[in-house]
C-alpha cells in the first residue's frame, strides 16, 4: 500500500513502515515528530533498537530525559524516513549506514557495489526538544532548521543581530517597532540562515552569518514574494541557486527549508516553486499527511 497525501495511515504491524515514492525532481518531503506525542516505553525501546551502537551511545550520553528522547527520535526519524523510500529494496532502517562529508554534514553511506551509482536522495534534520524534522529531496542539496516560535533568547534581538547578522538584516529588524513582531521576525531569519548554511554543507564557519543576507524580495505590488540570499563572497550566479520555504508548523514552530534549484530553472527564469509535502509521523505507528491543513502554514515559498 503506497502512501499518498490526504491520508492518515496506520502501520500494518508494529514494526512496519508504510512505503513511499521518492520525491520528484522539484519536490521536497518533510517529515516531523512531536516528542510529546511519543510516550510508549516499549515503542521507545523499539526505536533504540534500530539505532547503530554509536548512535545509541550518543543518545545515552545526553544529559536529561527530554534531551535523550529528542536525540533518539532524531535518529529514528532519519532512519525510518529514508527506509520508507525502499531504495534498492532496502527497507530495514537498522541496516542504513551514515557518514559525514568533508565538512561534517551527515549523509547516507549506501552499501552498494562500486559500479552502481548512489541514489540521488538527500536529507537534512533539525531538532528542538519539542519537534524533530527531516527533509528529503532528490538531486538537490537540502538544509532545514526548526525553532520554537516563542523560543527565548538571552540577549536582545538587536544585540544578537549586530553580532551575527548582516547590515541589511540588522536594518530590517531595527525597523520593526513592535518588540514581539521583531522577535518573531528574528526567529524566522535565524531559521532561514541556518537552513542555508546547512544546505551548503560547509559548517558554520564555511558561511559565516555576517557574510550573507537573506531578504524578502518584493514583487510589483510590494508583497513579499520570494526569499533570496545575497552573499558578499559568492557571486550572484551561485546564490541564485538556492530557494527557500518558510513554514509555521503545528502552530508552534517555524521551519525553514533551503534547497538547490535545478539547472533548468536557475537560468534567470521565473522561479519555479517546489512542491512541498509534509507528514506528521510516529514511526511504526501512524503517518498523517498534514499539507493543506492548519498544521502547516506557508509563510513564504
Amino acid at each position: 500500500m503506497k502512501l499518498d497525501c490526504y491520508q492518515r495511515t496506520f502501520a500494518h504491524s508494529s514494526s512496519s513502515l508504510t512505503p513511499i515514492q521518492l520525491p520528484a525532481h522539484l519536490e521536497t518531503h518533510l517529515w516531523y515528530v512531536k516528542p510529546s506525542e511519543v510516550k510508549n516505553e516499549s515503542l521507545l525501546k523499539q526505536y533504540l533498537d534500530i539505532l547503530s551502537p554509536r548512535e545509541r551511545e550518543n543518545v545515552m550520553q545526553m544529559r536529561g530525559e527530554e534531551l535523550r528522547k529528542s536525540a533518539l527520535l532524531a535518529r529514528t526519524l532519519v532512519r525510518t524516513t529514508i527506509a520508507r523510500y525502499q531504495i534498492n529494496s532496502q527497507i530495514n532502517p537498522r541496516s542504513l549506514k551514515f557518514r559525514k562529508n568533508i565538512h561534517g554534514k551527515p549523509e547516507v553511506d549506501w552499501q552498494f557495489s562500486n559500479d552502481s551509482l548512489p541514489p540521488p536522495l538527500h536529507f537534512n534534520i533539525s531538532h528542538t526538544s519539542s519537534l524533530v524534522a527531516c527533509g528529503v529531496t532528490v538531486d538537490s542539496q537540502i538544509g532545514i532548521d526548526v525553532e520554537e516560535k516563542h523560543r527565548s533568547i538571552k540577549h536582545t534581538v538587536l544585540s544578537f543581530a549586530r553580532r551575527y547578522f548582516s547590515k541589511h538584516e540588522i536594518q530590517f529588524l531595527a525597523s520593526i517597532t513592535d518588540p514581539q513582531v521583531q522577535k518573531l521576525e528574528f526567529i524566522k531569519l535565524w531559521t532561514l540562515k541556518e537552513a542555508y548554511v546547512k544546505a551548503l554543507g560547509k559548517g558554520f564557519s564555511g558561511a559565516p552569518f555576517k557574510t550573507f543576507t537573506i531578504r524578502f524580495k518584493e514583487d510589483s505590488i510590494h508583497q513579499a514574494s520570494e526569499i533570496v540570499v545575497d552573499s558578499f563572497d559568492e557571486p550572484t550566479e551561485l546564490t541564485s541557486n538556492w530557494q527557500f520555504s518558510l513554514l509555521e508548523l503545528a502552530n508552534s514552530h517555524y521551519a525553514a527549508i533551503c534547497t538547490e534549484k535545478h539547472a533548468a530553472s536557475a537560468e534567470g527564469k521565473r522561479n519555479v516553486p517546489t512542491k512541498l509535502t509534509v507528514w506528521k509521523t510516529i514511526p511504526f505507528v501512524v503517518d498523517e499527511c498534514v499539507s493543506g491543513t492548519d498544521a502547516v502554514k506557508t509563510i513564504y515559498g
Partner: protein
C-alpha cells in the same frame, strides 16, 4: 619527570586532580615502589566510580612516613575517567629498607585556570537554564547538555562579553566542550 638516580628507589606517585567549581581537590596516593609505569593504570578502576560521581574528594595526604609534600598550587586540568592526567613523580635519595628519603620534585601539565572553567560553566548553566543538580564540568560537551546552534552562538556571545574577547567563527566551530571554551578564552586573553 626526573629519572631516578642510581642507588635510589623510585616511587611513582599518581596524582589525580579534579575540580568542581567550588573547590579544587587533589587526591594523591602513593604506589609502592618498584613497578614499571604501565602498572599504574590499575589505579584507574577503583576510582572510576568516584570520578564519575564527581563527588568532592577530601585532600588526602598519603605519605610513606617521612615523605611530605605540599599542595599543588599550580592550576591543573580537570580530569575525567578516560583521560586521567597523571603527574609522575619520582624522587631519589638514600635508600634504606624501611624509609624513603624525600626530595620531591614534580611538574604538572597546566591548562586553563579552574576559575576560567568555572565562569564558562556559569554562563553555560544560565544559557541552557540547567537544573541545579545537572553536573557540568570541563569535559561536558555543549551538545550533550542540550545546546543547539542558537544556544551555542549565545554562549559564545556571553563569553565574549564576560572576558572582553572576540571569537572567530572558525574557532567557535571547534569548541565542543566547556574545557575547549576555557582554553580558547585563555589563548585569546594571552594575545591581548
Amino acid at each position: 619527570i626526573y629519572a631516578p638516580a642510581p642507588n635510589s628507589h623510585s616511587l611513582y606517585l599518581d596524582k589525580f586532580v579534579f575540580t568542581n567549581c567550588q573547590n579544587t581537590y587533589i587526591h594523591s596516593f602513593t604506589h609502592s615502589s618498584y613497578s614499571p609505569p604501565h602498572s599504574l593504570h590499575k589505579f584507574a578502576d577503583p576510582f572510576s566510580s568516584l570520578l564519575n560521581n564527581n563527588k568532592k574528594i577530601k585532600m588526602a595526604s598519603f605519605a610513606a612516613s617521612p615523605v611530605s609534600f605540599s599542595a599543588v598550587s599550580c592550576t591543573v586540568k580537570p580530569n575525567q575517567v578516560s583521560n586521567l592526567r597523571r603527574a609522575s613523580l619520582s624522587f631519589s635519595g638514600k635508600s634504606s629498607p624501611s624509609r624513603r628519603i624525600p626530595a620531591l620534585r614534580f611538574r604538572v601539565a597546566c591548562s586553563a585556570k579552574p576559575e576560567t572553567v568555572c565562569k564558562v560553566v556559569d554562563i553555560v548553566r544560565k544559557q541552557l537554564a540547567l537544573p541545579d543538580d545537572r553536573d557540568v564540568s570541563g569535559e561536558s560537551t555543549f551538545a550533550t547538555l542540550g545546546a543547539d546552534s542558537l544556544d551555542t552562538v549565545e554562549i559564545v556571545m556571553g563569553l565574549e562579553e564576560e572576558f572582553g574577547i572576540s571569537v572567530e567563527e572558525e574557532s567557535a566551530q571547534s569548541i565542543t566542550t566547556v574545557q575547549d571554551a576555557a582554553d580558547l578564552i585563555e589563548k585569546l586573553l594571552e594575545k591581548k
